[in-house]
Assembly symmetry: C2
Homo-oligomer: 214 residues x 2
């Protein structure tokens, strides 16, 4: 059953579908892909194994649907609030808020576990990993590029190449914390205060590079 | 047998040790940890399984020694050539050379595969992953911090907090290419010309932020 068909399901069937996805998230994020079984997911979701197969076809398909749904959800959260600030004086604050929000979403333990899982499964699911890349980091950088282009058009920053500048700003903020989490584990995210300081420094360096006057 | 004892081995024994490590590299980087067997490594190295166990104890230990050796080798390569430039006029060129060299090493397909493998095995080998983090990214950033501190002391850049600036410069350069490789596969590294342009832009933004005059 394809996900676009979910909207047409009866309520009881939709509830089962949600229960299966929740169980799949718990199972896959707690273990490696290989060690998860459909039996286990059915037990956790309190449905029959047949119901799991009816809804999702195969373990592969369930995994792809789960990862796609989680990535979409995270992407929607990241995209919320990339509005153009009211005036030039609010550029720094707006960038700090936007990047701070994005970093907080990205550093959610369940999304860090998803990131590790997708990265480790690239050899088996290359298309899925590419979709996560497009809907995750690429989508965030594209939104930032649009915002920086708009700020440049208004003369509020000097960003002749918004695509390059957006990538730089993104990685000034995301690089160190995400890399540390990949090696050190998903539960050692910096505190909110540390994240705020990190973002302030990153945006400060970015604005110093692209508009010393701000 | 601990690696520090390798120096005292007879030449024939040392050759076997090297053959086993080379076979282990090939086997582990081509597959996931679970699917590699000591039999397979012995076959590839053309030694007996007993010889593999005599040299490395267990599969776990062999894996740890292999990852440690590869990380040490990469770290030594990255560290080569972080010399202070002769004059202020050479700062940009020196940073471009240093970071370009580091990026080229990091983007080696075998090291990208190692990165993915270590990241995916964090739940099983947390101490090893921490050691790779310390000897990999942390070591590179520390070397950059020392260099930027020296450049600041000479008045050639304005870097009041070399630790923060070093991390920023590192991720301006490493963030986008390593993240793309983790999702898109290890054989799609940017071309040397693309890497050079990327580094030039990153160093350009960094110097614009930390010394507009350069």
């Amino acid at each position: 059953m394809k996900s676009q068909e979910a909207a047409t399901l009866r309520p009881s069937s939709l509830a089962k579908r949600h229960a299966i996805l929740a169980a799949a998230e718990q199972a896959f994020l707690a273990a490696r892909y290989d060690s998860v079984t459909m039996d286990e997911i059915a037990d956790m979701a309190q449905v029959s194994k047949q119901t799991v197969y009816t809804h999702f076809g195969t373990k592969d398909q369930l995994f792809v649907e789960l990862v796609t749904a989680m990535t979409k959800g995270a992407g929607d959260e990241v995209s919320a609030g990339s509005a153009v600030p009211a005036s030039r004086e609010h550029v720094r604050e707006a960038l700090e808020e936007l990047l701070g929000h994005q970093l907080a979403v990205v550093m959610t333990p369940r999304l860090l576990r998803l990131r590790r899982l997708v990265i480790s499964e690239v050899p088996r699911f290359p298309d899925l990993a590419r979709a996560v890349y497009d809907q995750g980091p690429r989508r965030a950088v594209a939104a930032l590029e649009a915002l920086l282009g708009e700020l440049d058009a208004r003369g509020w920053v000097q960003v002749p190449n918004p695509a390059v500048a957006a990538e730089q700003l993104n990685w000034l903020v995301m690089g160190a914390p995400t890399n540390a989490a990949m090696y050190l584990g998903d539960d050692v995210a910096p505190s909110p205060a540390e994240q705020e300081l990190h973002v302030r420094r990153a945006v400060g360096a970015f604005l110093a590079a692209y508009d010393g006057a701000l």
